[in-house]
Amino acid sequence: MRELTYIAAISEAISHEMERDPDVLVLGEDVGGDFGGAFKVTKGLAARFGDRRVLNTPLAEQSFIGMANGMALMGLRPIVEVQFADFISTGFDSIVQSAATIHYRFGGKVPWVIRAPSDGGIRSGPFHSQNPEAWFVHTPGLKVVAPSNPADAKGLLCSAVRDPNPVIYFEAKPLYRSLRGPVPEGEHLVPIGEAAVVRPGTDLTVVAYGSQVSQALAAAADLAADGIEAEVVDLRSLKPLDFQTVAESVSRTSRALVVHSANRLAGVGAEVSARISEECFEWLDAPVTRLGGLDVPVPFSPPLEDAYRPDAHKIAAAARRLVAY
């Protein structure tokens, strides 16, 4: 199969959906014209599909996300780019108060996707490195996905565009051009709400998503050299969460390590960890362990940022402690 970078897979998904459905359009800051967005994800779309379907917006996240709510209520399927996931807070009300509640309150449908370029490790400081997914997982009515590889990046985005609900799509900036992988051509859908076992193992389960899946796989290779076989579960969807796949894995390995780049405190891993404790207690041979960012803004300078975030070495070290427990 031909290989694409993670970012090329995202671009391919957008153009595939725009080709397929005339109701799909793109909007956001700097996405239009020849420029094609801060990361060039939408480059070429305006030339191919016209300015009407690739709409540049002013700096106004609250209102252009709110505008997407209204477009979606009328049956369009906007793909909204917030330039960095960090800026999604500026549009918070339009997401959590409006979009998330509309179907429950009066039955309207809001089938948009917000693409949120997230995650750090690339020396971008407190306002260009964040992982704010927990806010949205905590909000009833939203769906949240976070692909870890190019094939899922395409398949989850195509599914998100076709989903009749608001979906926030956290794409991992550190993977954009650093990760290549096989991506099916043409139609390729990854269902929302299904985790994947990306590496089988017997000694512990590492649950991760987004960029930390690559780190977990690197850690697993390191551990295997010492005879420790880690199973890696890629959540892929954070909401709805496929806990069954997690539980099935933990029931075989009896140890669980939950990893994400976002702050550990009250993060998605806290929920996964709590559910493992509640629902897999009889199978556990060691306390469920979490690795995540520290309870500080994402720092800029390399030694500080490296101290802040999990990586393959920290995952391997935590796994060894768990196995030795």
Binding site: S63, M67, G70, M74, Y104, G107
Partner: protein, 360 residues
């Protein structure tokens, strides 16, 4: 047009003031102005009577609701739209059948005109399964019904403006000759999304009409504590929108102005802001006695109540006789009484459905 009481009260013309040194009473409505040439100069008699009919139904609903809540027959809080009928009713009537509206929480008249029955409104107010939100949203929020082109309200003011902008943009995207209309209060004009959305509406030439129901108070805060200048219309014009100031208690003036704005939007003429000057005649919500509002201000506005005003106008101009209007009043009373009886007899939602409809 013979309207002795109205013209007497409208003696003082409103002019945009600089920030007052002394606290001043909030602005009086403008005197009747010549309306734009595209607006219909004379409204047909049946429309003028219809405006009264819907205002009377709206007022009767409001009076009944307020009485029920004071009697302890209500549920939670609720919001009176008393004094806003001259705005909410023409907002509904000036739209075409395929247009959409996102009313605010004092616009029950818009809901009624667009076809939501009073029984469904009371069903929502009383948390019954027969309300448009099926017990999921409170009072006049969440009363959306897309089959009627109505979007339910969100408390986070003015979320309805960017949503309505988006609906308008969807019409433009698909080349449909439809218009989207919404409303907010004076308080809504001080928020970020208000200014963002006005800028974007003008930038994109969206077929949008926004009515600012300037009722002079954001909860307890009067206009002069909300903004240094009362230049709501001028600010909208500065963003590039067509902007007008109207007497929100003159339902016929409001109809003409909204209709002209809707027609302009439909023909590609872009968005309009209409500032409708009125007065919130009761508290912010049912619990609020609004002791902070000067009594003489309320008395002045009570004397030019929009429903009574239209009634007097129809009589004095010979459009309708007392018997015809009394018949409308009795019809409204009977409609609302029947609606309350139906809503009070309706079932509450089944608790087993609490998680239903979280996803489409």
């Amino acid at each position: 047009m013979s309207d002795p009481l109205g013209s007497q009260i409208r003696e003082a013309l409103f002019a945009t003031p600089a920030r007052p040194e002394e606290p001043e009473p909030p602005p009086e409505p403008p005197s009747p102005q010549p309306h734009s040439e595209e607006a219909p100069a004379d409204l047909p008699a049946d429309l003028r009577i219809d405006l009264y009919r819907w205002m009377r139904l709206t007022r009767t609903l409001d009076d009944t609701m307020v009485a029920m809540w004071k009697q302890g027959r209500g549920l939670g809080g609720t919001f009176s739209g008393r004094g806003h009928e001259g705005i909410s009713v023409p907002m509904g009537l000036a739209l075409g059948p395929d247009d959409v509206i996102a009313p605010m929480h004092r616009d029950v008249g818009s809901y009624l005109v667009r076809g939501m029955t009073p029984a469904r409104v009371f069903g929502n107010l009383l948390g019954r399964v027969t309300g448009p939100s099926e017990g999921r949203d409170a009072n006049l929020h969440g009363m959306g019904d897309l089959s009627l082109g109505i979007i339910g309200y969100v408390s986070h003011i003015p979320q309805q403006i960017p949503i309505t902008l988006g609906m308008a943009m969807s019409f433009r995207y698909r080349g449909e000759p439809r218009v989207a209309l919404t409303a907010c209060g004076d308080g809504g004009t001080t928020t970020g999304p208000y200014h963002e959305s006005l800028n974007m509406a003008a930038l994109y030439g969206a077929p949008l009409v926004l009515v600012v129901e300037n009722n002079q108070y954001a909860y307890s805060t009067p206009l002069d504590q909300q903004m240094a200048t009362f230049a709501i219309t001028e600010r909208a014009a500065a963003y590039g929108l067509t902007a007008r100031t109207e007497d929100g208690n003159d339902v016929e003036a409001m109809f003409r102005s909204i209709k002209a704005a809707v027609d302009r939007a439909r023909s590609g003429g872009g968005p309009t802001v209409i500032e409708a000057r009125t007065m919130r005649m009761l508290g912010h919500a049912i619990h609020d006695g609004a002791e902070y509002v000067p009594r003489e201000l309320l008395e002045r506005w009570e004397a030019r109540d929009p429903v009574d005003h239209q009634r007097r106008r129809l009589l004095s101009e010979g459009v309708s006789g007392e018997a015809g209007l009394a018949e409308i009043d009795a019809w409204a009373r009977a409609e609302i009484d029947a609606a309350v009886a139906e809503a009070e007899a309706a079932p509450f939602p089944d608790p087993g459905t609490v998680s239903d409809r979280i996803y489409a």
